[in-house]
C-alpha cells in the first residue's frame, strides 16, 4: 500500500470509469451512485497520503517514488515513474477533493448522456492526477494530452449554446502550446543523450543536464527552448494575452467542468512553470529581458483581468476573468524567484482552487434554478436564499483576500516575496509589488458590485420569488471548501511547512547566492559553468542538426 499509494490514487477514478462501462445507460441513478462512490473513494484513498507525507515533509527530493527510469519502453527511455514533493502533494489533494465535489455537484445538473458524462469525468480525473505525479516526461506528456480529450468532450457535449466553438477553441489553443512543448522535450531528450550518452525521459535526470543548454548552445537557443515550454504553460495558466479561450470555455462548460477547469486544469500551467521552466532554464529566467516580460505579463494579467471582470454582464464570465487576475498573482509569485513568492504562489493556487471552484458552484446553483447567468436577471436573492447568500459572501471574501480566510495568506506571501527582492529585471521588488496591489482593490470592486446586483435590493424579477434555498447535497459540496478556506486562513502553518523544502530547493538551484549576506555573495556564487567539452558536445552529440544552435 505504502509503496504503491500513488498508483492507487491515480487509477481509482479510471477503475470507476471502466466499471461504469458495464452499467446499462438507462440506469441513471446507479451510474450516479457509482461515479460518486469512486470520486469520494478517490478522495478518501488519497487521505493516507496526508499523515505519511507530513512525516517526510522536510526530507529532500521526491517522495513515494514508484518505478524506475526507462522501465516502460526501454528502447526509447520512457519510464512509468511517479513521485511527489510538497508542491505536487498539495495539488493532488486539491484535485481529489475538487474531483469529488464536482461529481457530487453534477447530480441533478446532468440529465442526458449521464453515463458518458461520468465516464469522461473520471477519466479526466486520472489524467489530471497523472500530470501532477509523473516524473517521466513521456508519461507526463501522455497524461497532459490525455486530459485534453475528456475536457473537450465535457464542454462540447454538455456545454451551453456556443459549446462547439468553445470546445474547439480550448482544444486547439492548448494543443498548439503542447506541440511546442513536445519539440522542447525532444530537444532536452537528445541533449541529454549528447551529454551523457543515455536516452531517457526521466525528469530527475534531465534536471541535471538541461541547465547546461544555456552554455552548450548559447543564450538565444536556450531562450527559444524556454519559450517553447513557456507558451505551453502560459496558455494553460492562462497568462495575458493567451487567456481568451478561458472565458469562452468557462461560460460554455457545465458547472462541474468549470470547477475542475478553474480549480485544477489551470494549475497545470503554473505547475509546469515550477516543475520544468524554473529548474530547466535558470539562466534564461534570470536574464533581465525574459524576467521583465514574465513579470510584466503577470502584473498586466492581475490588473487587466480585474478591469475586464469589472465590466462583465455574465456572472460566469466575470468569475472567469477574475481567474485571470488571480492566476496573475500566482505567476508573479513564481517569477519573483524567491522562496516566499513561490510558497505564496502554490498556496494561492490551492486558494484559487478552493475559492474560484466555490464561485463556479455558486453561479451553477443559480443557473440550475433559473437557466440564466445574466447579472441583470437577478437582484434581492439574499431575501429568497439566505443560506446561499451567506455562503456566497464568505467565498467572495475569501476570493478578494480578506484576512482570516485563505486568499489573504497567499496574496500576502506573494506580494511580500516580490517586494523583498532587491532587483527584478532592473526594477526594485517594491515596484512590482506596488503595481500588483491595485488588483486587490479591484477584486473588492468587482466582487462586491456583483454581490450587490445579485443579492441586495428587492426581488424585482417575479421569476426569482420562489427560488428554493440550498439542498443538503448542495451544502455538502460547499462544506469542504468552507472548511479549507477557514483552515488556510486561520492556520496556514502546515502548508508553509510542506512547501518549505521544495521551494528552498528550487531557489537554491536557480540562485545559489540567495539569502546569503551581501558581503559573501561574490565568494559564494558558483555559476553554472560550461561543461568541459561543450564545443565537441554540440558537434558530436546525438542532436539532429536542425535543432542545433548556431555555435
Amino acid at each position: 500500500m505504502y509503496s504503491h499509494i500513488l498508483s492507487i490514487v491515480l487509477f481509482t477514478p479510471l477503475a470507476g470509469a471502466i466499471l461504469l462501462l458495464f452499467v446499462p445507460k438507462e440506469n441513471k441513478d446507479a451510474i450516479r451512485w457509482i461515479a460518486n462512490i469512486f470520486a469520494f473513494g478517490g478522495f478518501l484513498i488519497s487521505l493516507p497520503l496526508v499523515p505519511w507525507f507530513w512525516n517526510l515533509r522536510f526530507e529532500p527530493g521526491f517522495k513515494f517514488v514508484e518505478g524506475s527510469a526507462n522501465n516502460w519502453i526501454p528502447s526509447i527511455g520512457a519510464g512509468y515513474v511517479l513521485g511527489i514533493d510538497g508542491i505536487s502533494f498539495l495539488l493532488i489533494m486539491l484535485t481529489t477533493l475538487l474531483g469529488w465535489i464536482s461529481i457530487l455537484s453534477s447530480w441533478t445538473a446532468i440529465e442526458n448522456r449521464v453515463k458518458e458524462y461520468y465516464v469522461w469525468f473520471l477519466v479526466l480525473q486520472t489524467g489530471m492526477l497523472g500530470v501532477f505525479m509523473a516524473l517521466d516526461f513521456f508519461l507526463f506528456f501522455v497524461f497532459w494530452e490525455a486530459m485534453l480529450v475528456p475536457m473537450y468532450l465535457l464542454i462540447g457535449i454538455w456545454g451551453g449554446p456556443r459549446k462547439l466553438y468553445a470546445a474547439i477553441k480550448f482544444f486547439l489553443y492548448t494543443l498548439a502550446g503542447s506541440v511546442l512543448m513536445l519539440l522542447g522535450i525532444l530537444f532536452l531528450y537528445f541533449h541529454h543523450h549528447g551529454a551523457t550518452g543515455v536516452y531517457t525521459f526521466s525528469i530527475p535526470e534531465l534536471y541535471k543536464t538541461a541547465p547546461q543548454i544555456y552554455y552548450d548552445y548559447g543564450a538565444s537557443a536556450a531562450t527559444l527552448l524556454f519559450l517553447s515550454f513557456f507558451f505551453a504553460f502560459a496558455i494553460k495558466v492562462p497568462m495575458f494575452p493567451f487567456h481568451t479561450w478561458l472565458p469562452d470555455a468557462h461560460v460554455e462548460a457545465p458547472t462541474a467542468g468549470s470547477v475542475i477547469l478553474a480549480g485544477v486544469l489551470l494549475k497545470m500551467g503554473t505547475y509546469g512553470f515550477i516543475r520544468f521552466s524554473l529548474p530547466f532554464f535558470p539562466d534564461v529566467l534570470m536574464h533581465t529581458r525574459v524576467r521583465f516580460w514574465v513579470m510584466a505579463l503577470s502584473v498586466i494579467a492581475i490588473l487587466y483581468g480585474a478591469l475586464v471582470s469589472l465590466m462583465q454582464k455574465d456572472m460566469k464570465k466575470l468569475v472567469a476573468y477574475s481567474s485571470v487576475s488571480h492566476l496573475g498573482f500566482c505567476t508573479l509569485g513564481i517569477f519573483a524567484l524567491s522562496p516566499l513568492g513561490l510558497s505564496g504562489s502554490v498556496l494561492q493556487q490551492i486558494n484559487h482552487g478552493v475559492s474560484t471552484g466555490a464561485l463556479f458552484l455558486i453561479v451553477g446553483i443559480l443557473y440550475e434554478r433559473r437557466h440564466t447567468r445574466e447579472i441583470a436577471e437577478y437582484g434581492g436573492i439574499s431575501s429568497v436564499m439566505p443560506v446561499y447568500a451567506t455562503i456566497t459572501m464568505i467565498m467572495f471574501l475569501s476570493s478578494m483576500g480578506l484576512p482570516l480566510l485563505n486568499g489573504f495568506v497567499g496574496e500576502f506571501s506573494i506580494l511580500q516575496g516580490t517586494f523583498m527582492e532587491k532587483e527584478i529585471a532592473g526594477h526594485p521588488g517594491w515596484f512590482w509589488a506596488a503595481w500588483a496591489v491595485p488588483g486587490v482593490i479591484l477584486a473588492a470592486a468587482y466582487l462586491l458590485w456583483l454581490y450587490q446586483r445579485v443579492f441586495f435590493g428587492t426581488v424585482t424579477n417575479p421569476k426569482n420569488e420562489k427560488l428554493h434555498d440550498l439542498t443538503p447535497r448542495e451544502i455538502a459540496t460547499f462544506a469542504p471548501l468552507l472548511i479549507m478556506a477557514f483552515w488556510i486562513g486561520l492556520y496556514p502553518k502546515p502548508f508553509f511547512q510542506i512547501l518549505e523544502q521544495p521551494v528552498n530547493q528550487l531557489v537554491q538551484n536557480i540562485r545559489p547566492d540567495y539569502g546569503k549576506p551581501a558581503g559573501t555573495m561574490n565568494a559564494s556564487v558558483q555559476p553554472r559553468t560550461a561543461a568541459p567539452a561543450r564545443q565537441d558536445l554540440a558537434k558530436t552529440g546525438g542532436i539532429p542538426s536542425l535543432l542545433r544552435g548556431k555555435n
Binding site: 471574501l397 516575496g417 517586494f419 482593490i441 502553518k493 518549505e500
Partner: protein, 711 residues
C-alpha cells in the same frame, strides 16, 4: 494574573457570540440573542478592566514594558527556513504571530471600546426592537467587536491588519444592513472599496517595515527605531513606510482625500454609526499611527504630512457640517473633522494629546449619535432637522444628555472635549516653525465652526418652533430605558472623562499623558535628538512645569471661539420656524450651494476615478478602463485568436481549392482528361456489339487475305 494571562479570551468572546448568531441566530428568541451578544461584550468589558488593572500592577515591576503573549505562529512555517533578505542583506524569517500585546496605549482603546461597545449593545436592544434581522444585526455587531479587539490587541502589523480589514468588513455589512435600499448597499460598497484603497497603502507600508526591520512585531519595530542612528537611506525608507501607513490611516479614519465613505456610511442603523463610525473603528487610523510613533518621529516629512492633512480635513469637514440638514450627516462631518484634530495632534508630535482626544471623543460622539438615534426614534424615523424643533420638553433626557455632549465637543470647560482639544491646539502652537501657527489658526477656526454647527443642531432640534407634521408630533415619545441608560452613562463620562487629563497649567497632574509615557516618551525625546536639541530635552520638560501666560491666553481664546459659535447659532436658529433662513445662504448663496453639495467631491470622484458618471459621453476612471479593456479583449486579443483561426480556415480553404482544382484537377485529373480526349477517336470503334466485332474481324481478315493475295 488571571485576566492578563487569559487576555486572548477577550476578542474570542464576541467572536463566539457573532459566530453563534450567524449559524443559529435565525431560530433564537430575541431575549436569547440579547443575553448572548450583550453578555459576551459585557464579559469582555469585565475582562478588559481586569486585564488593564493587572497590567498596571505588572508593569510597575517590569519597567513598564508591554505585556506580550503569543498564541501560535499564524503566517509562516515556524521553522525559520522560509527567509527573505532585508535591506542590509541579512536574512529574516517570514513570520507573523497570532499574538497579543497589552500596553498603556492598547489599554486605553481596550477600555473604551469594550465600555462604549457594551453601552451601544444595550442601546441597540431598544433601538432595534422592531427591526427585522435582529439576530443578524447583533451577530455583525459582535463580529465587529471581535475585529476591533483583534486590531487593538495585536502584537504585530499583520494581525493588526486582520482586525483592520475585519472592522472594514463589519462596517460594510452593517452599513448595508438595510440591504433592500440601494442607497444602503451603495454606501456599503463605497466604504469597503475606499477602505481598500487605504489598505493597499497599508500593505505596502508593512512590507517596507518588514524589509527594514526584518520583523513586523511592534516590539521589534520599536527596538529598531530606537536603535542608534539611522543612515539617510534608511530614513528615506522610513519616510516611505510611514507615509504609506498613513494612506491606510486616511482610508480607515476618513481623512482627505479618502473621507468620502464616512458621511455615506450613515445609511446604517444609528447604533452602528455611533459605535463604528464615531467612537471606535474610525479611530483605528489614529491608533495605528500612534502605535507606529517610534517610526513616525524619525520621518519629519511624514509627521508634517499627517499634521497638514489632519488640519485640512478638520476645517474642510467642519465647513460642510455647517449647512447639512440631516442630523446624522452633521454628526458624520463632525466626526471627520474631529478625526482631523486627532491627526493634527499626532502630526505635531503630541501623541498623548491625540489619544486623549480619541478617548474623550469616543464618549461625547457616541452620545451625540445615540442621542440623534433617540431623536429619530421619537420622530418616527425623520432625520431632517428642518422638520424638527421644540423637542426640549418632549424628550427631556435625550435633550439634556445631548446638550452635555454638545458642550463637550464645543470645548466648553469643564466638559471633556475642552481638555483634549485645548491640549491639541496648545501643542500645535508650541511646535517649532511658523507653519504650525497656520495649522493652529486652522484648528482655531475649526473650533469656532464646531461650536456653531453643534449648537445649530441643538437649536434646530430641541428649541425653535416645531416644524414637524401633526401626525409625527402626536407620536413623539421618550425612548425606552435600555436606550436612556446608556445615554446617561455616556453623558456622565462626557462630563468627567476630561478630568483624567487635567493639565498642569490648571493645577492638575495630567494623569492621562503620564499613563501613556512608556509608549510615547522615548519617541518624543528622540524627535528632539534628531533635530539636534538633545540638550533641550530637559529644558523642555522644565518648561512644562511652569506654564506660560500664552497658554492661559490661548485657553481663553478657544473658549471664546466656542462661545462665539454658540452665540451665532443661537441668534440664527433659536426661533427658527418653518421656512427659516440659513445665515450662510443669506450672506453668500454660492458658498452655501458649494457647502451643501459637499464641494462636489463625490461628483468629481465619480467622473474621474470610479467612472460612474460620463464626461460628454466619455467614461473615465476604473469603469472607463474596464470598458476599454473589455473592448480590447473582445476585439484585439480575442480578435487575434479568432483571426488566427480565420487565417487557418482561409488557407485551408485555399489549399483545399488548390488541391481540388490544381493538384487533383490539373495534375492528376488533367492527364486523365487528356488521355480521355485523345482516346475519343479510338473509342468510337468500341461499340460493345459482338456482331460489330465479328464484322470488323471478318472485314480485317478479308483485308489481310486480299493484301497477301494481291501483294
Amino acid at each position: 494574573m488571571l485576566f492578563l494571562d487569559h487576555i486572548w479570551i477577550i476578542p474570542l468572546l464576541p467572536a463566539f457570540g457573532g459566530a453563534g448568531m450567524l449559524f443559529f441566530g435565525r431560530k433564537l428568541q430575541k431575549a436569547t440573542v440579547n443575553v448572548v451578544c450583550v453578555g459576551m461584550v459585557g464579559l469582555a468589558f469585565i475582562m478588559a478592566c481586569g486585564s488593564v488593572l493587572q497590567y498596571t500592577a505588572w508593569a510597575e515591576t517590569h519597567s513598564h514594558q508591554p505585556y506580550q503573549t503569543i498564541l501560535y505562529t499564524w503566517l509562516g512555517g515556524d521553522t525559520g527556513h522560509l527567509i527573505y533578505p532585508t535591506h542590509d542583506g541579512a536574512q529574516a524569517p517570514f513570520q507573523a504571530d497570532a499574538g497579543l500585546l497589552l500596553d498603556p496605549l492598547s489599554s486605553i482603546w481596550l477600555l473604551f471600546v469594550t465600555g462604549v461597545g457594551m453601552l451601544i449593545h444595550i442601546y441597540s436592544i431598544g433601538y432595534m426592537a422592531h427591526e427585522g434581522g435582529y439576530y443578524r444585526f447583533f451577530g455583525y455587531l459582535n463580529l465587529f467587536m471581535f475585529s476591533m479587539l483583534t486590531l487593538i490587541l495585536a502584537n504585530n502589523y499583520v494581525l493588526l491588519f486582520v482586525g483592520w480589514e475585519g472592522v472594514g468588513l463589519c462596517s460594510y455589512l452593517l452599513i448595508g444592513f438595510y440591504f433592500h435600499r440601494k442607497s444602503a448597499s451603495d454606501a456599503a460598497n463605497k466604504a469597503f472599496i475606499v477602505n481598500r484603497i487605504g489598505d493597499s497603502g497599508f500593505i505596502l507600508g508593512m512590507f517596507f517595515i518588514a524589509w527594514l526591520c526584518g520583523s513586523l512585531r511592534f516590539v521589534d519595530v520599536n527596538a529598531f527605531a530606537h536603535l542608534g542612528t539611522h543612515s539617510p537611506e534608511t530614513l528615506k525608507y522610513i519616510t516611505a513606510a510611514t507615509l504609506l501607513l498613513f494612506v491606510g490611516a486616511c482610508g480607515k479614519s476618513a481623512q482627505l482625500p479618502l473621507y468620502v465613505w464616512l458621511p455615506d456610511a450613515m445609511e446604517g442603523p444609528t447604533p452602528v454609526s455611533a459605535l463604528i463610525h464615531a467612537a471606535t473603528m474610525v479611530t483605528a487610523g489614529v491608533y495605528m499611527v500612534a502605535r507606529s510613533n517610534a517610526l513616525f518621529v524619525l520621518a519629519p516629512t511624514s509627521m508634517k504630512t499627517v499634521a497638514i492633512v489632519g488640519a485640512l480635513t478638520a476645517i474642510f469637514a467642519a465647513s460642510i457640517g455647517l449647512v447639512q440638514n440631516d442630523i446624522k450627516r452633521v454628526l458624520a462631518y463632525s466626526t471627520v473633522s474631529q478625526l482631523g484634530y486627532m491627526f493634527l495632534a499626532l502630526g505635531v508630535g503630541a501623541f498623548a494629546a491625540g489619544v486623549f482626544h480619541v478617548f474623550t471623543h469616543a464618549f461625547f460622539k457616541a452620545l451625540l449619535f445615540l442621542g440623534a438615534g433617540s431623536v429619530i426614534h421619537a420622530m418616527s424615523g425623520e432625520q431632517d432637522m428642518r422638520n424638527m424643533g421644540a423637542l426640549e420638553k418632549r424628550i427631556p433626557v435625550t435633550y439634556w444628555t445631548m446638550l452635555i455632549a454638545t458642550l463637550a465637543i464645543s470645548g466648553i470647560p469643564p466638559f471633556a472635549g475642552f481638555f483634549s482639544k485645548d491640549e491639541i491646539l496648545w501643542q500645535t502652537w508650541t511646535s517649532e516653525g511658523d507653519a504650525y501657527r497656520i495649522l493652529w489658526v486652522i484648528g482655531y477656526v475649526t473650533a469656532l465652526m464646531t461650536a456653531f454647527y453643534m449648537f445649530r443642531l441643538v437649536y434646530l432640534t430641541f428649541y425653535s418652533k416645531p416644524r414637524m407634521s401633526r401626525e409625527v408630533e402626536h407620536h413623539i415619545h421618550e425612548s425606552p430605558k435600555s436606550m436612556i441608560v446608556p445615554l446617561v452613562i455616556l453623558a456622565v463620562m462626557s462630563l468627567f472623562a476630561g478630568f483624567l487629563g487635567w493639565p498642569r497649567s490648571l493645577g492638575g497632574s495630567d494623569h492621562f499623558a503620564r499613563f501613556l509615557d512608556p509608549v510615547f516618551a522615548r519617541g518624543e525625546a528622540r524627535t528632539l535628538i534628531e533635530e539636534g536639541k538633545a540638550g533641550q530635552l530637559v529644558a523642555a520638560e522644565k518648561e512644562e512645569e511652569h506654564t506660560s501666560p500664552t497658554e492661559y491666553l490661548l485657553m481663553v481664546l478657544s473658549v471664546a471661539a466656542a462661545g462665539v459659535g454658540w452665540y451665532m447659532a443661537k441668534r440664527s436658529y433659536a426661533h427658527a420656524h418653518t421656512g427659516y433662513s440659513e445665515p450662510i445662504k443669506a450672506a453668500s448663496p454660492a458658498t452655501y450651494k458649494i457647502l451643501l453639495n459637499k464641494y462636489y467631491v463625490d461628483e468629481g470622484y465619480d467622473y474621474l476615478f470610479t467612472g460612474r458618471r460620463k464626461i460628454d459621453g466619455v467614461r473615465l476612471g476604473a469603469m472607463g478602463l474596464g470598458e476599454a479593456s473589455s473592448w480590447f479583449d473582445a476585439n484585439v486579443v480575442d480578435g487575434a485568436v479568432n483571426g488566427a483561426g480565420w487565417i487557418t480556415r482561409t488557407t485551408a480553404r485555399l489549399s483545399s481549392w488548390w488541391d481540388k482544382w490544381i493538384i487533383d484537377g490539373i495534375g492528376v485529373n488533367g492527364p486523365a482528361i487528356l488521355a480521355r480526349m485523345l482516346s475519343y477517336p479510338a473509342r468510337l470503334f468500341e461499340l460493345g456489339l459482338v456482331q460489330w466485332y465479328a464484322l470488323v474481324m471478318t472485314v480485317g481478315l478479308v483485308g489481310f487475305v486480299f493484301y497477301y493475295v494481291y501483294h
